[in-house]
């Protein structure tokens, strides 16, 4: 965060861009969208619905490790599509650590597959992962566009991934009946205590989704919708103090990271670095849309496996805008954006350092005495990353 913020002001001090231009590059639609979602998520979390889903999932699996893994994979993907990967991981990894401790099996395979699922789920919707939020901010794509173009391929990828899990882990985890019974004893009745809050929250979130679906006729921007939902929930529904939520539940580090990032990218655009990159890509593909999509998909996938995907997407966005000056047909430029989204989100699964969720999850595991090395993660993660980028290539190639 600090690096991004310092970088943002260094480019002003050095005179790369002046302050007015740097500040105008900050996409307030993205910033307030993030804040609005963070408020919404904070109240959703307070209802206990996510804990309920997680505990219920373990019980439905009847304590069988492979079933828990498969169901947790799906639950993680589903929740990530709403909360984003990092928040989901922070809620679910502690639960899976508890479950595996009770079952007396290692949690490492669960953690790795759930990280993979979180990055996949986050790619499925506009509100899931930061790359999509950035792309939505830069383009005219609506919530529905994301659902129509990204959700289908993610569903396919999740289905194939479940097959991969079966191939990798079947018959490898044994649990005694006594241990299994402990999971079945979990009492999920008390997890949702405030039913009124739950219904208010679900209604407001439902209305928010409706507003996203009809945002064009309603003439509402993402930030307005998210902030409206977040503020209503915080004021109407929350038992906690408003100040506490604003202070603790809004991730200001992320917000300032984004602000700094927007300024830096503006600096890169002004130096002509982005132009150079765009020309490079076009010279390789001759501006042919399908080939360009493939190049962007694989380039993003490979890059995102090693560097943080948020700054990468932030830099790629102006590049695709430049390419858009060559490929002028809006129908042909579309798949480039989807390729960018899928490449960055799914490529992040490739190595331990590929995405924030990976680092957060491994951090939690390490703190609890389960060491997951770079190779431990990567040898599993790269399989899922390859599987999903290959499926994405086929999808983009066939569909667009």
């Amino acid at each position: 965060m600090l690096a991004a913020l310092i970088g943002g002001f260094v480019i002003i001090v050095l005179g790369v861009v002046d302050q007015t231009i740097a500040f105008s590059a900050i996409d307030w639609n993205v910033i307030f969208f993030l804040i609005g979602m963070m408020l919404t998520i904070s109240v959703m979390r307070e209802t206990g619905m996510f804990m309920y889903i997680a505990i219920k999932t373990a019980k439905i699996a009847k304590g069988s490790p492979l079933k828990i893994m498969a169901l947790m994979f799906m639950a993680t993907a589903l929740i990530s599509a709403i909360l984003g990967s990092v928040t989901t991981i922070m809620i679910l990894i502690p639960i899976v650590l508890l479950i595996s401790e009770e079952l007396k099996i290692t949690p490492v395979p669960f953690i790795i597959t759930m990280v993979v699922a979180s990055n996949m789920g986050g790619a499925a919707t506009m509100i899931g992962d930061p790359p999509n939020i950035l792309i939505a901010g830069a383009t005219k794509f609506t919530f529905v566009d994301f659902v129509l173009n990204l959700t289908p391929i993610i569903l396919i990828i999740v289905a194939f991934s479940l097959g991969l899990i079966w191939l990798l882990y079947r018959g490898k985890m044994r649990v005694s009946n006594e241990r299994r019974a402990k999971i079945m004893e979990y009492n999920d009745k008390n997890l949702i205590t405030n039913h009124k809050l739950l219904w208010i929250t679900l209604s407001v979130v439902g209305l928010m989704l409706l507003a996203f679906i009809f945002q064009k006729p309603l003439h509402l921007e993402n930030a307005t919708i998210a902030m409206a939902a977040g503020l209503i929930l915080v004021f109407v529904g929350s038992r906690k103090k408003v100040e506490t939520i604003i202070l603790n539940d809004i991730d200001w580090i992320t917000i300032f990271f984004f602000i700094g990032l927007f300024m830096i990218v503006e600096g890169l655009v002004h130096t002509g670095f982005i132009d150079l990159l765009a020309q490079g890509v076009i010279s390789v593909t001759n501006g042919e849309p399908k080939t360009t999509s493939m190049v962007i998909l694989w380039l993003s996938g490979i890059f995102s496996a090693f560097v943080d995907n948020i700054p990468f997407v932030a830099a790629m966005i102006p590049m695709i805008e430049r390419i858009g000056e060559v490929i002028t047909d809006p129908v042909q430029i579309k798949p480039l954006w989807w390729a960018l989204s899928l490449g960055t989100c799914l490529g992040g699964n490739g190595t331990l350092v590929g995405a924030s969720a990976n680092i957060v999850a491994v951090g939690i595991a390490n703190r609890n005495g389960y060491k997951i090395s770079f190779m431990d993660y990567t040898k599993i993660g790269v399989l899922f990353a390859l599987e999903s980028v290959i499926l994405s290539s086929l999808y983009i190639w066939i569909r667009y």
């Binding site: 206990g48 996510f50 809620i91 650590l97 508890l98 004893e185 979990y186 205590t193 939690i364 609890n368």
Partner: protein, 299 residues
């Protein structure tokens, strides 16, 4: 301010007779009432003193008893004292020096400082013996003047802290810590090394945390879990882990000169009900919120 400045020779008695507590109090009360116009006097005052004695024993282990009464609308502080040849028994404590203090409802600080000065003096065995040997009020006052026994203007932590509190060493096992906590019924204590140097603190929550891993603390809600083995089996680790493994080393400490208000302020800002008192790196005392309540406010 010197303690001697608050005393008058005629209010300092030397008593050779065998008296009861009540008889002695009556003599002291009569002394004061004959000279000063008090809002409450005579048998009413006696009643108040005895009632107060019932509530809180005025006797200290150093052999001094300091009964006191605070009156409304009495803008003065009076002291009468008696040195006894035949000690009085205050529930097992032998008292040979009784000091009656009558003061205003509002002047608790001065009262506390006089008590602090008297207690300090009563700790000095030689000085107490000297005082007994003086034989008359004038000499007592002269002696105190010469010794420069001061009444401090302000109460500090040093006046109310528990001196030489129970403490553990970092190399003690959790079993030893648990035994100490149970024996003294305390929820926390300072940690010191062999030379008495303050190192940190350890409390019952640090201890219970041994049975709760980090990831459990990250959960939003634990209501689904009826029992948790690692917590219930905490005692399995009591010989394996040392105080050093669980103690906190970044706790706020006080110096003996800290004021009462600052100590209360630090209790709030650090969300703690007790603080260790450290002087030149060594642990010298411990002060609890209850000490402040019972020794400063509800006196």
């Amino acid at each position: 301010m010197l303690l001697a400045s608050f005393l008058e020779p005629r209010n300092i008695l030397f008593e050779n007779r065998v008296l009861t507590k009540e008889q002695l109090y009556q003599i002291l009360v009569d002394r004061l009432c004959s000279q000063y116009k008090l809002p409450i006097c005579g048998s009413k005052l006696m009643e108040l003193i005895l009632q107060r004695d019932e509530e809180v024993s005025p006797a200290y282990s150093t052999g001094i008893a300091i009964p006191h009464i605070r009156m409304e609308n009495f803008n003065d502080t009076l002291i009468a004292m008696a040195f006894l040849q035949n000690p009085l028994d205050y529930n097992g404590i032998k008292v040979s020096w009784v000091v009656l203090i009558i003061t205003d409802k509002t002047s608790s600080k001065l009262y506390l400082n006089i008590v602090a000065a008297l207690l300090k003096l009563s700790n000095d065995k030689e000085a107490v013996a000297d005082l007994h040997n003086t034989g008359d009020g004038h000499s007592v006052i002269q002696y105190l003047k010469k010794k420069e026994v001061e009444v401090k203007k302000d109460v500090t932590i040093a006046d109310i802290m528990v001196q030489k509190p129970i403490a553990v060493h970092p190399e003690n096992t959790l079993r030893e810590l648990i035994n100490l906590m149970c024996m003294y019924r305390v929820a926390g204590m300072p940690v010191v090394d062999a030379t008495g140097k303050y190192i940190g603190e350890v409390n019952v929550l640090n201890l219970l945390k041994v049975g709760i891993p980090d990831f459990v603390m990250m959960l939003d809600d634990l209501s689904f879990l009826a029992s948790y083995e690692p917590l219930e089996n905490l005692l399995e680790k009591q010989d394996l882990l040392l105080v050093n493994d669980i103690m906190a080393t970044d706790e706020k400490t006080l110096s003996p000169e800290t004021s009462i208000i600052e100590a209360v302020f630090l209790m709030f800002t650090n969300k703690k009900r007790y603080l260790s008192v450290v002087k030149e790196g060594k642990l010298v005392g411990l002060v609890t919120a209850m000490d402040i309540l019972t020794k400063v406010i509800a006196v």
